[in-house]
């Protein structure tokens, strides 16, 4: 048994004596004996750290798909970007990792200022004046955005583009059973939300579209804005924060709320979590903002200081009337993102975005040169993801590519369990979404194309 607990036997004896107790068990006398565990938990004995490490290494080795083993061409919401040693070292500092929520600002200026810098960076990328201190992930952010928009519009009906990531839409629908929001999914035509299909639908208070869809296409934000103006709805835009450095920002395109997944800004693939929910909004929505917000102020001596602010929105104060139930968020990922964006800087992030777009096109060109490989949406521009079809089922293709040393993408059939009605089911089963970040080389792409040609033959 390892000792993270410092008590010596003698100290335990003296502490019990101080409490006038005969045994440790007496501390638990308030717990009815009939309920107490008898004979201990049915679990293995404790192991030493090196023994546990060896066991975890065994489990890690069983993950054949790790990016350290297979060259990663998978994206679809989780991207294999460079996270340099300097970011890992700084983000791994114990002062950031082992702190609690900054409730005592006098001794939490480090985290608070880092969040302030994060909020500034996200606000600039999304082109909106307010960013919160983070939410759990992209799915949580779009769910919270809908909650905000329904409150603001006082209308329960929400148009949700199927361009929004499929698993996020599943999450939205799960939580809508509690809030009672009426989620109406709107399909894509040629990679854009088919807003015409819902023209005339009454009582819509929220329109949610994704600047780049999960198929990599670019949606028509101007049309969404026009619709929102026409019907008085709140416009929520899901936006990729890497692409935001080179695309017109959601704010510039008229978004009232912009949300996204921040994993690509410094967080490893991490098997899906912990990731980083981004949330930005216009100034008139700040009192409906979910989660924590850091603001600048001064201390008693007039020195600049940071503190959590507009706290009356939050659950520990407003309880059932709070704007959200969120308490723990993803502060460490937000701090990491501030560091990563500091490292990349203005031109580094734009370079990552440009390379991801260029390299994904290079990848698409390479694989569509193979007989039987087609673009799912020919002629439609894509940004950092591209959907292709092959003669094989998506799942089989990926299994065969893994044998050749590649994680070849994400099968659409796995991503969209039920489909979304926008894609022909016959094509869907053969479709794979792929992506090439700035970490992929020409040699890797060429070998990948060779492997694909081989496995579909």
């Amino acid at each position: 048994m390892p000792d993270y607990m410092p008590h010596t036997e003698a100290e335990i004896e003296s502490m019990l004596a101080f409490l006038d107790l005969g045994s440790i068990d007496e501390l638990f006398d308030a717990i009815p004996k009939a309920l107490q565990v008898v004979g201990g938990l049915a679990m293995a004995d404790g192991m030493s750290e090196p023994d546990v490490t060896a066991e975890m290494e065994r489990l890690a080795a069983a993950n054949r798909g790790a990016a350290s083993r297979l060259v990663c061409f998978a994206g679809a919401g989780a991207y294999d970007h460079e996270v340099p040693p300097v970011v890992r070292a700084l983000a791994g500092r114990g002062e950031f990792v082992t702190a609690y929520t900054p409730y005592q600002p006098e001794v939490a200026q480090g985290i608070l200022q880092a969040i302030f810098e994060f909020q500034t960076l996200i606000s600039r990328l999304y082109g909106l004046p307010i960013s919160n201190a983070s939410l759990y992930d992209g799915a949580a952010s779009v769910t919270e955005a809908i909650n905000l928009a329904v409150t603001a519009s006082k209308r329960q009906r929400v148009l949700l583009s199927t361009g929004v990531h499929p698993t996020w839409r599943s999450v939205v629908k799960t939580f809508a059973t509690g809030t009672g929001h009426d989620i109406v999914e709107v399909g894509l035509v040629d990679g854009r939300t088919d807003l015409a299909s819902v023209a005339g639908l009454d009582d819509v208070g929220t329109v949610v579209v994704s600047q780049t869809t999960y198929l990599g296409t670019l949606d028509d934000l101007s049309a969404a804005r026009a619709l929102c103006d026409e019907i008085g709805a709140v416009m929520v835009v899901v936006a990729d924060p890497v692409l935001a450095s080179v695309l017109k920002s959601p704010g510039a395109m008229g978004a009232d709320v912009a949300v996204g997944e921040g994993q690509a800004l410094g967080t490893a693939l991490s098997f899906g979590g912990p990731y980083l929910g981004l949330f930005a909004c216009s100034a008139d929505q700040v009192r409906r903002l979910p989660g924590r917000l850091v603001g600048e102020t001064v201390d008693e001596e007039g020195r600049r200081a940071y503190v959590s602010t507009l706290r009356a929105r939050e659950q520990d104060i407003r309880r059932e009337k709070a704007t959200s139930n969120v308490c723990s968020n993803q502060t460490l990922m937000a701090v990491t993102t501030a560091i990563q964006l500091g490292w990349l800087g203005t031109h580094g992030l734009a370079e990552v975005a440009a390379r991801s777009i260029s390299s994904t096109r290079y990848l698409a060109d390479a694989v569509t040169g193979i007989d039987g490989v087609e673009l799912l949406l020919p002629g439609v521009p894509v940004a950092r993801d591209v959907a292709i079809t092959t003669p094989l089922s998506g799942q089989l293709l990926l299994e065969r590519l893994a044998d050749e040393g590649f994680l070849g993408g994400v099968a659409l059939s796995a991503l969209t369990q039920e489909g979304d009605g926008s894609i022909d089911p016959a094509l869907r089963s053969r479709a794979v979404v792929m992506s090439a970040t700035e970490r992929r080389t020409a040699v890797e792409v060429e070998r990948f194309a060779e492997a694909m040609a081989k496995v579909i033959r």
């Binding site: 308030a30 993950n63 054949r64 350290s68 950031f96 990792v97 990531h165 693939l269 709070a322």
Partner: protein, 503 residues
């Protein structure tokens, strides 16, 4: 006790260089400076206008900051020096279980093969992750006495909301629409906030003079419109709800379910299990009980475990051991659906499993024993100046009241908390639970030594004496911290949430 040993958890020696503010990243920025280095790819970077519609492109890259790597390191290192943490010293913040976070867990969370796995990789390529998750689910079910669990929820509040949706789905499957959830007045704020998001009305149950759920009030509130009750046990006053078996029987009698807020699970590991108390749904805060670090506010992980009657409603897809011994995904028959974009806070789950495996069943019981021993020792040691709200054995945390101190000296709980920072300790939680006037809630956790507890108690004694002799000194605290008390009203009135909002 060894009085010659120095307290390991007192951080009063922490150096603080200088009195100046730290500039922001943006203030340090110099156009043309850069730190980034990327791979040489051999792939030509084409002009974006060739690839995307020109009208969608911005004219110039979003202005972020331009700093050197050296300055980046200096800036964030200095920020880290302006931050209290568990690594630095004792953090007796009640309700938050700020125990030591073992470094081996950090190493596991960064391990290649775990940290670099794409969440949508096919099952044949993620067998290790699926096995890890199944093993963690089994361990959590054994610890809590439950039948099955979901690992998807990202934090405690997400777990609560998931649990309440499970409660609603359970009733709905019985053709039963119920509108109300009972919540004690001592509950965490997330409880009523989560109830509201799941469509329930909240009925507040008062606390009696023992500091426990008022049984008569509970009985009076129970009817067939009640979906269930949310309880924290031990409760937020640090007391075990000793009538729990009776409460469970009464709630089950009207067809309701019992929800367990696992924030205080550390007190009862291996001693008593929520399932055995009669609970049907429980969330755990892995970032409290199982020592995964809080990260300055997150990430957490809030798995939800349930009794047999709720199993079919759990979120999916769920990691599952298949008959052939391999691992896959499955979705329960009446699943409420996904509650996370992928599979939950996977790396937090890996840390928690590491912690559990290091301790084993017996070690986890020792965690609870020593957490409760520490809290009671501190309770008794500081009782002269800081009486408890409820004079009895507490569990893993102790709530004291500063009412008498305030009356006698004008020094409030908040002032004591701020003055304690100067002594090298993080503040306790103050003004919570709401039912205790001038509440100061200490949770020393099992990883602090007797010497650290004694030093904390001595500091508290000094503060109490100073409050009587020089109250203004206490009220002026803290003076040795990177900043002194901050103007919160100004922050709200003149909102500056970004560098660009600064006037």
């Amino acid at each position: 006790m060894n009085t010659r040993a120095a307290p390991g958890g007192r951080a009063s020696s922490a150096p603080l260089i200088g009195r100046d503010r730290e500039p922001t990243l943006f203030e340090m920025s110099v156009p043309g400076r850069s730190a980034f280095q990327l791979r040489t790819t051999g792939i030509p970077v084409r002009p974006l206008a060739e690839l995307l519609p020109a009208e969608l492109l911005s004219e110039s890259p979003t202005d972020l900051a331009e700093v050197s790597e050296r300055d980046l390191v200096a800036h964030f290192t200095r920020l880290s020096h302006r931050q209290f943490s568990v690594d630095l010293g004792a953090y007796p913040l009640g309700s938050c279980t700020m125990k030591y976070n073992p470094k081996v867990c950090d190493m596991v969370a960064a391990m290649p093969g775990l940290a670099d796995v794409h969440p949508a990789a096919p099952v044949s390529m993620i067998q290790g992750w699926l096995e890890l998750m199944v093993e963690l689910e089994d361990a959590l079910c054994e610890i809590t006495g439950m039948a099955a669990a979901t690992l998807q929820p990202s934090a405690g509040a997400a777990g609560e909301l998931t649990g309440l949706l499970l409660m609603a789905a359970y009733h709905e499957a019985n053709g039963d629409r119920r509108r109300r959830v009972l919540i004690p007045d001592s509950a965490h704020g997330t409880n009523p906030a989560s109830a509201a998001l799941s469509g329930y009305e909240v009925t507040t149950i008062p606390t009696d003079e023992r500091g426990l759920v008022d049984l008569d009030a509970l009985r009076a509130a129970l009817d067939t419109d009640v979906a269930g009750i949310m309880l924290t046990n031990p409760n937020t006053a640090g007391l075990f709800e000793e009538d729990i078996a009776e409460i469970a029987a009464e709630v089950h009698k009207i067809g309701g379910l019992l929800y367990y807020d696992g924030a205080n699970l550390n007190a009862i590991l291996g001693v008593v299990r929520p399932g055995d108390m009669g609970f049907d749904i429980i969330h755990m805060n892995l970032h409290k009980t199982f020592a995964t670090p809080h990260g300055g506010g997150g990430p957490g992980a809030g798995p939800v475990a349930v009794s047999q009657r709720v199993v079919d409603f759990l979120p999916g897809p769920k990691p599952t051991k298949l008959e052939d011994g391999t691992f896959g995904w499955s979705t329960p028959s009446k699943s409420i659906g996904r509650v996370h974009g992928w599979h939950g806070s996977a790396l937090v789950l890996a840390r928690a499993l590491t912690y559990i495996k290091v301790h084993g069943g017996e070690g986890l019981r020792l965690v609870a024993e020593r957490a409760v021993l520490n809290a009671n020792w501190l309770r008794h040691r500081i009782a002269e100046h800081y009486p408890t709200a409820h004079d009895r054995i507490c569990m893993h945390e102790v709530v004291v009241t500063g009412t008498a101190l305030k009356r006698a000296t004008g020094v409030r709980a908040l002032d004591v908390a701020k003055r304690l920072l100067e002594e090298g300790f993080h503040s306790p939680t103050v003004y919570f639970p709401l039912i205790v006037d001038e509440a100061l809630m200490f949770e020393p956790t099992e990883t602090e030594s007797l010497q650290t507890l004694e030093a904390l108690a001595e500091a508290l004694d000094r503060i109490a004496i100073e409050a009587h002799e020089h109250p203004d000194e206490v009220i002026a605290a803290p003076r040795t911290t990177p900043v002194r008390r901050v103007d919160e009203a100004r922050a709200a009135r003149n909102l500056i949430p970004t560098e660009d909002a600064r006037g």
